[in-house]
Amino acid sequence: MPGCFYSDPINQRPSVTILGEPTEAVHRADHLTLAAAAEDPDGHYVRFQWRAYACAGAIIAEGCDQYPFADGLLETFDFDVPIRLRDDVTPVTLLRVVLQAKDELGATARPEEELLLPVVNRAPTLVLDRSSRYSFIKDSPINVYAKVGDVDDGPAALMPLVWEVFGPATGNTSNALADLTILQDAEDPAHLQYGKVFTANVEGEWTIRVTAMDPLDGIVTVDTMITVSPGTPPCLAQVQPIVPPVGALLPLTDPTLFQVPVVVDDLDVYPPQVGDAFLGTTDFKWYVMAPGQSSHVEVAGATGNSYAIDPASYTPGDLLEVRVEIFDRDPDLLTNCVATDATCAVNTSTPSCIQRQTWRVEVR
């Protein structure tokens, strides 16, 4: 008689695999997503148990925290790579991710799945900017700003920034930078801002190089190039009274104030601008060519923006010329003009910007 032999089916262990291993270097504070792939020969439902440990070892799981910094029970496992171990001091250099799986009958996958991920330090971030109220001209202050951050260590952990200046051969690079105190952005605590006042002693191409380094020797270097110009000559923007056209004479019937109400310049303007100590004032020189004179004679002491002429000082019918010339702090000699030129522009490429004006006057 054939006997019947019954035995319960033997439950087999599930097998499990970690998917989604990063193909690029993992940095501290990165966000990772891993997935579990399970296979159970019996077709049972498989439960997962994820654990992620922060370690300070090299490529083996030594020096890991005793407790995981993240765990999970789902098929996918999301976590942020910690910055430091639980001691809050030691930087994380390795991740150990452990995945355990059990089927619904409690069979545990063996061996448990383990993933070791080296963690590297992320370099600081650095952005430079610059601005100038004075059109980036030599001997004028140019503000250079550095905005630094460090995703893993935080901006406060960064070493002091290293500022370097590279300039033209005759440029004074050693004294070109001075500290500039600037306010921090309260709405952006992840970054700190620093500033320097850059002053170029010669025109040309200058480069400001800033290097930021974090405590783990992560380095970033950024350059900003500044083209420093020599500055523009001042321009006579308004004069009074009207300048007679060529061939005409301005009749002078009453005491008249020859004036330059407005001079446009990058640094030395008129009228003086209040509230900016760096801006200066235009220098004026006045000349008169009186009847009988063959050249324009500078009027000693007349250094303001106006010069008065009373026709009573002359004989009716006299012809004279009144001339003004303007100069900024870097005075250009009006060498490209001869004395008989009624107007003069230092920069011939901008002929409308003149530094000399002459009125031909007839005393009436």
């Binding site: 056209p245 019937t253 104030l257 109400p261 407005v262 008129y270 006045w286 007349a302 250094t303 303001g304």
Partner: protein
Amino acid sequence: MIARLSLLIVLLIAGCAGNIEGGDDDGCRVSLGFTPSMPYSGPAGEITVTAGVQNTTGVLAYTWDVTYVGGSVPFTNAAANNSAIRFTALDPGTYTVTLDVDAPSKTCNQETQRINVLDPTGMLVDVRLHVTAPFDLDVPPIDRMIRVNGGADYDLGAVVLEPGIPATGMVRTSGGTGVPAYMRISPLGMAGAITETFSNASGIYDVTLLNQPHDVLVIPSSPTLAPQKFSWISSTTSFTVSAGTAITGTVRHGVTPVSGAKVQLTIGGVPTTLGTTAGDGSFTVRGIATAGAMVKVEVTAPAASGLPRLESTAQFSVTGPIDILYSSTLQTRNIGGTEVRRGGALLGNKKVVLVGALSSIGNVTAGVTGNASGFARVTTTTNGSGVLPSLLAPAGPLSAVVTVLDSDLAVTAFNTSAAVPALIDAPIMKPFATKGIGQSPALDGIRLDLVPVDALALAGAPTLQLMSDSAGQFASSIADGGTYDAVFSDPQGRQGQRIVTDRTATSFASSYDLPPAVSVSGTLSVTGNPNKLRGAAVTILCATCSGLGRERPIAETASDQAGDFVLAVPDPGTM
């Protein structure tokens, strides 16, 4: 009929649709008004500000802010729905009220109202606000009276220039020939807003003017055509100039004809042509006779005559001969041989100007007789030995202005009333020191203009400009014997301008208080131009002065990128 009605309905609907889609017209608009319209400071200085909100419905939320000199000012609600507030302006100055309105489904503009609060004890001073736009903008200038209130800053708000209209035309003769001329054009009621131009060789002028009547003074280049005053309106296309009336007369010194004298008349503010007397003293000038006008007669005798310049103003008739008489008692003296020294050393080859104001030197008769005054201005140069050459000068209390070097002047009395002095002793420049002080500890970088008066002015000496050191101190040397008006000003606007008249090197005080300043501010724009007016010259000028004093700025600045300007003018003070 039905078809026409349908068309009308369609047109009306289309019109409505146009309004609904009218863009900005549909936006929520906020405006502010306040009472009283001219508030005064003090415990009773209560101001109510009321909001007006258009193009929105529903319950609105109002957020108010009132500031004064950078600080917040408390206020209370003055309306149940918070659409009005009330605050007390304890101090004079400019208060800024800002309102934000939250409206359902609408974005409302933020509205700001600057309210000038006056000091009830403030003195009032009228000044002129003169604005000249950058020349490339081709906008006529303005010259408006404004009132500065003592003790309070004043915000003018929007100062709007009109773009003007092109005024082109021709200056010509009656025969149609174009005439080159100088033209000075001023709008009626705003005489200081002068626009100048020249007509070209063909007589064509092209200028931009306010669209209102103007006075136009045309001074032809040709000496044969008389200057003339015209009226201009927008339809004016030409000005016809003429030779005018021949105005004749004679110039005599006692009974002796004066030949070679330059004669010019100014009739009702319009000059004539320039005439030169013939050997018999006769002259002819050409001008426009205007009945009843004040006529100024000016005669400049030839230098060799030694006669002073003669001036007389009265309601002279120019339709008949004009008799110009230097008094027979007016004597001239030969100054040749006078030595010019400094410290005993003869000054060779130095310019010497003998000047002096002289009264009652003659008279002018033309219908009426007017007394004539004048001044002497004799320019000469010492020879190599420091001696004046032979030259006539009027007898009288003159002064000698000696130019030792370009910046080294000396003034000394040279009284020729009885005889010619044998010596002009030119004193060395005299040092002086003074200081400008104000409310701040040290007024660094203030400016001192030394405007020559009396002898120096007659000699044509220039205004000297000095800048102070960091303590407001000035130290320099000026012509000994010379007199100046001292004009202290602070380019940084911390203090107001102060003018101290008739200063000599020895009469400067050790310091001068510069008056407190009040600010006059505003924002420049041009009608129809959304851009603010930047780079315009903005000056505060004297309203009651004459001559150069009317042209010298009390305060000056240029409008900034936003069209804003701030001027510091002397505080008129309080009672």
